[in-house]
């Protein structure tokens, strides 16, 4: 009944969906009286088809560029009579797998593994950032949309504003890490007799990082404190985010604090006050001890 004029191929109507278990099957209590099209229009609307100013064309300026960066799955659809159900339209999560570095060079990766172990050092009970996979996590994040500021507003002009106006840097996180790591290395070799960051002792490494944090060490061509702020945000994310993203290996971050992860139904525990929840954590990928070991 409705003349759909969406772009050719954009619509694929599927059979009427079956709603989930919480839906009743009973028909909608509609009182709709169809056929009101024949009724006089609301109000007076004589001239709606008047030609509009040319300025509407300007909306399309830069649209083409924008579309390049948009997923090809994004389509405008006409929805009528049922919900446009399709499986996992939001896409299932991607599981980060071990393997070669995707963003970092080998030297950068070594420096990163040293850094993440200073930001989250190992202790007798819990591994540090390196063994928890924080560098791998950041590597995969920088390789993905985050590293390229893909979804952010990146149009100019770029002006440094007030603190309250938020970051206005032209650098993407990927560029910030690349430049930051190079500058760190340059700083260390020039101040520590040719030794790179990874060759310093943990105490010396801490000292360098502390001075960057305090603004006592400045980098050439990149904001050293800005680089350190990114580390302080990204490393704990790698330690505490779901292991599917490459960090928090074996859920060590979650085990350290007693976070049970996802999927638990706590209805039986919400009223058990001041009692520690006893079950081990579980991730989006499940839990390794649920999978029988291969003999």
């Amino acid at each position: 009944m409705f003349l759909s004029r969406t772009k050719k191929g954009a619509i694929s109507f599927r059979p009427v969906i079956t709603f989930n278990r919480w839906m009743t099957g009973r028909p909608a209590p509609t009182k709709a009286k169809i056929g009101l099209r024949n009724r006089p229009a609301l109000g007076s609307l004589a001239d709606s088809s008047l030609d509009m100013p040319m300025r509407r064309r300007t909306f399309l300026v830069s649209l083409a560029t924008w579309l390049v960066g948009t997923t090809s799955l994004t389509r405008a659809r006409m929805i009528h009579g049922h919900a446009p159900w399709s499986p996992y339209p939001n896409s299932a999560p991607e599981l980060v797998r071990p393997g070669p570095w995707q963003f970092f060079t080998l030297d950068e990766a070594r420096a990163m593994e040293a850094i993440v172990d200073r930001i989250i050092p190992p202790d007798p009970e819990t591994p540090g950032g390196k063994d928890a996979g924080c560098a791998v996590f950041i590597d995969r994040q920088l390789k993905g949309p985050y590293g390229a500021s893909q979804n952010l507003y990146t149009l100019g002009p770029f002006t440094k504003g007030t603190k309250e106006q938020g970051p206005q840097s032209e650098l993407t996180p990927g560029e910030l890490y690349r430049k930051g790591l190079a500058a760190l290395n340059k700083h260390c070799t020039s101040t520590h007799g040719g030794k790179s960051f990874v060759e310093l002792s943990p105490t010396e490494q801490d000292d360098v990082l502390r001075k960057i944090e305090a603004g006592e060490i400045k980098f050439e061509g990149v904001d050293a404190q800005g680089f350190f702020s990114a580390l302080l945000k990204d490393v704990p994310e790698g330690f505490f985010s779901d292991p599917i993203h490459g960090g928090n290996r074996d859920m060590v971050g979650w085990k350290m604090i007693g976070f049970p992860g996802i999927r638990y139904d706590y209805r039986d525990w919400v009223s058990r006050h001041n009692e520690r929840y006893p079950l081990p954590p579980v991730s989006i990928a499940g839990r390794s001890d649920w999978t029988p070991a291969k003999s």
Binding site: N20, W22, R26, P27, A28, P29, T30, A32, I34, L36, R37, G43, S48, L50, M52, R56, T58, F59, L60, V61, S62, L63, A64, W66, L67, T74, A76, R77, I79, G81, A83, P84, P87, P89, I120, D123, Q150, L152, Y153, T154, L155, T162, K163, E164, Q165, G166, P236, F240, S241, H245, G253, M256, G258, R263, D265, Y266, R267, W269, V270, E275
Partner: protein, 592 residues
């Protein structure tokens, strides 16, 4: 080449809570309705399946459910003398995207405003005298009263299956509820949610201090529920992934879990997704809307003629679209003329983080829901005498355990290093025994002459349209209010036995990078005078009578509550006016 679609009775811009409510009500009245939504369609089952929806990195940190700033953003400055710069990644608030809008990712805190909130200017002037108010404060009455909205609040609460304890039924104060609330016609449809340990401690300490704590009204189901439209919701499992997330468990009220399943089957309703309305078209008189123009995801431009236009996008997009369409006079703060962009407000929230003895307290902070909470309302609105304090406004305060998600919620005492062994040790020691309320102090922000929205002169969106520009700062009144509330809130945690209480006041200047809430309000406000409001009491445009504008953009100032209950009640109220008055005589409902 713009292509023209067949005329509809009604076109709705944005399919969130208010768009869904209006679409349902107007389709139910027999009108042929189309909704046009910028983002994608979203299904509860397939867009956020419980198996992977609880991904803190993906949804909370990377903002997957929200509008991406590459699509459009805003510029921001504190003062009119500054140059506004673009918000390049979201901070202080989170614009929603897609069908369901903010109703997908909200916590479901479902409050009603106080009766005095709707007549704020009159009430405060009568009680304290006009000179008690700051000179540049521009608060106004709404033009609608609590009593008029009550049936519509009630309808929304029953649509959502709100869990709560009534405090005032038809004037009778109910034990255990909020004694300050306006009279309600009947109890909540569901009992309150179960309360974790920290909430019961908070409730006891608050009672000992002489307050009347009550469970926060919650759109998270305390039991299985079937709403009046026949849609069923499941009981909340207290999983702790609510705000910023879609609930794949059908336990949180959203347009998807309450209204869309019925709406979408109506033969006289249709929707277009991934299509952005770029303009409300006016006829040659400039006094009537002819329909809307939108661009679909393929970049095709379409004209959708309609007899009635309902603008129901997110607050600031409503304001922007009115400005871009040339509807109503743009606000000019220097001349103090014009209405579109005027009385823009946000929120004044703050945190109190408290640290308890890990050997004695285990809070299991991950056992949580978005709106579960124990609150007091003694310091909201005008529930207390402001005379001695030198400010107006207020908010509720409460222990609202919304999550133990470890990237976001691993508090450490102030003075702890931000990294290294000491930081790691402090995170480990305090995770189970620290309290960082999800809501904390939820305070009002009143309106001022120099806080407003207009169009940015420099920065453009992907369609080459000017971005909306926010000029906003905190004023002394709000800073005083926040200090007062934060101190009162902290006293309760001290009484609970915290060994260290950390007060994190909201301070000026307003900071666009610090998340508060997504409760932007105002900019296209309702009222009784066309010189100081964009809409009449039925949310009908004074300038274009076949245009109704929904949402918190209509709030003349922000009250100390979450806005969704009031936003929805106003949508039902406007829909009722359209059905009972406008359709019989489609013109201005109020003669000004």
């Amino acid at each position: 080449m713009v292509r023209k679609l067949p005329r509809k009775d009604v076109v709705i811009i944005g399919l969130g809570w208010t768009g869904s409510i209006m679409a349902y009500e107007l389709a139910d009245a027999g009108l042929d309705v189309i909704a046009i939504e910028r983002g994608p369609w979203r299904n509860t089952a397939t867009d956020y399946p419980p198996g992977y929806a609880a991904d803190e990195l993906r949804y909370r940190i990377r903002h997957e459910l929200f509008l991406s700033p590459s699509q459009t953003t805003f510029t921001f400055r504190n003062k009119m003398s500054q140059t506004a710069l673009p918000i390049r990644s979201w901070g202080a608030f989170m614009p929603p995207n897609g069908v369901g809008g903010g109703g997908v990712h909200w916590n479901a805190e479902t409050w009603r405003f106080l009766p005095s909130d709707f007549v704020l200017k009159t009430h405060l002037t009568e009680r304290y005298g006009a000179s008690f108010l700051p000179e540049d404060m521009t608060i106004q009455d709404w033009g609608v009263t609590y009593d008029e909205l009550e049936p519509h609040y009630d309808r929304f609460e029953y649509l959502c299956g709100t869990s709560g304890q009534a405090g005032n039924i038809k004037g009778t104060i109910m034990e255990g509820g909020n004694p300050f609330e306006g009279p309600r016609s009947r109890p909540y449809p569901n009992p309150p949610q179960d309360q974790p340990f920290s909430h019961t401690l908070f409730g006891k300490a608050a009672r000992d201090l002489g307050y009347k704590p009550f469970p926060q009204p919650s759109g998270n189901m305390s039991r299985p529920y079937q709403n009046p439209l026949g849609v069923r919701l499941g009981p909340c499992t207290y999983c702790g992934f609510c705000e910023w997330f879609g609930c794949g468990n059908y336990s949180k009220a959203s347009p998807q879990t309450t209204i869309l399943p019925v709406l979408v089957r109506k033969p006289n309703f249709s929707a277009r997704d991934n299509s952005e309305v770029v303009r409300i078209d006016l006829d040659s008189s400039g006094k009537r809307a002819a329909g809307v123009t939108f661009v679909d995801a393929a970049g095709e431009e379409w004209e959708q003629p309609a007899d009635l236009v309902v603008l129901s996008a997110y607050t600031i997009f409503n304001v922007q679209l009115l400005l871009l369409s040339g509807i109503g006079k743009a606000y000019d703060p220097a001349a103090n003329t014009g209405v579109i962009g005027r009385n823009f407000t946000h929120q004044t929230t703050s945190d109190v983080v408290s640290f308890f003895d890990p050997a004695k307290f285990v809070f299991n902070p991950f056992i949580a829901s978005g709106a579960i909470g124990m609150c007091i309302d003694e310091f909201n609105g005008d529930n207390f005498d402001h005379g001695p304090h030198g400010f107006v406004g207020g908010g509720y305060v409460g222990q609202v355990q919304t999550n133990g998600r470890p990237i976001e919620t691993t508090p450490v005492p102030e003075g702890t290093p931000l990294w290294g062994a000491q930081w790691k040790k402090a995170v480990k020691e305090n995770y189970q025994s620290a309290l960082k309320p999800g809501t904390g102090v939820h305070g009002s922000m009143y309106s001022y002459r120099d806080v407003y929205v207009d169009l940015d002169p420099t920065y453009k969106d992907r369609f080459n349209r000017p971005l909306a520009r926010i000029t906003m700062d905190f004023h002394d009144n709000e800073i005083k209010q926040n200090k007062f509330l934060t101190d009162k809130f902290a006293e309760i945690f001290q009484a609970m036995g915290a060994k260290h209480v950390q007060k994190e006041y909201r301070k000026a200047p307003y900071d666009i990078t610090k998340y508060q809430t997504t409760h932007l309000c105002g900019g296209a406000i309702m009222g009784s005078d066309p010189n100081t409001s964009a809409l009449n009491r039925y949310l009908q445009s004074w300038d274009v009578p076949n245009l109704f504008v929904m949402g918190a953009s209509a709030f003349p100032q922000n009250a100390g509550y979450n806005p969704t209950g009031t936003v929805a009640a106003l949508a039902y109220w406007a829909a009722d006016a359209i059905r009972s008055k406008y359709l019989k005589n489609p013109g201005q409902l109020i003669n000004a």
